[in-house]
Symmetry: C2
Subunit: 156 residues, 2 copies
Amino acid sequence: MRTLFYYNWQIRDEWFQVLEQVPAIDLLRDRHAGVGSILKTIFHIIDVEYSWIRVVKNESDITFQFEDYNDLKSLRNLSEKIRSEIKEFIDNWSNDMECEAVIPSWMDKTFNKGEILRHILVHEIHHIGQLSIWSKELGIKVVSSNFIGRELLERH
Amino acid sequence: MRTLFYYNWQIRDEWFQVLEQVPAIDLLRDRHAGVGSILKTIFHIIDVEYSWIRVVKNESDITFQFEDYNDLKSLRNLSEKIRSEIKEFIDNWSNDMECEAVIPSWMDKTFNKGEILRHILVHEIHHIGQLSIWSKELGIKVVSSNFIGRELLERH
């Protein structure tokens, strides 16, 4: 499971790089699908990941406001700032935590920690798939979503 | 890892159901992104999954032609037909197979079986994310990509 977090982060960073060449107006344009714009999609990925990670860490939720991160640089800084905290948790994840039950503050429902980690993983891959459609409209290079060829299993 | 295969299959089947209400012409329309049309995307998911599964099973590749499966019913039948074979393999997957090396017939490169299984998983989630964008254009319900709430870990 750890490897898929590294996969997501590597791809997210490649998107940050590719999107640097896109004018802010195109990054902010409402595309009437998904969560709206390209920047809102990336914000949503980061926000959702962090909220759920706080849940599995048994810590209270910290919410971010899109208005505070509505440009590529701020989003990238936010992503990098919280990644070290998330990475530390993921690197120390052990399978005996899989079935520990938690209740997120915003839902009246119990989940297993293993279930939540998988939810975070598929959530990002799903939304990155949406970016790949929009990138065609922008005429920019699509970041490869291939898992193979990234040598992720060898490294971590 | 097994659970994420079940996640993908559950969502694929929900898409088959939702897409039943969409006229064939809309399913076949080239959307100038991803691999083209909605049907081509689903065909691509099934085709890629099966080709890589054959690789990890040390079996020769079987290729499908889109022209033979260019309607929803044929694709659904193909998906169901090969699923029992794939499911049997996935259900009997063990972690000691992770590092077994294989070379696909269409590439001059060695991969580990664990790497390939992850590749299959993220490949489908990525392309399903693309469908979610196009479903808005069609005005149909988007299939939820949530992992939580599907009770997948309890069942398998």
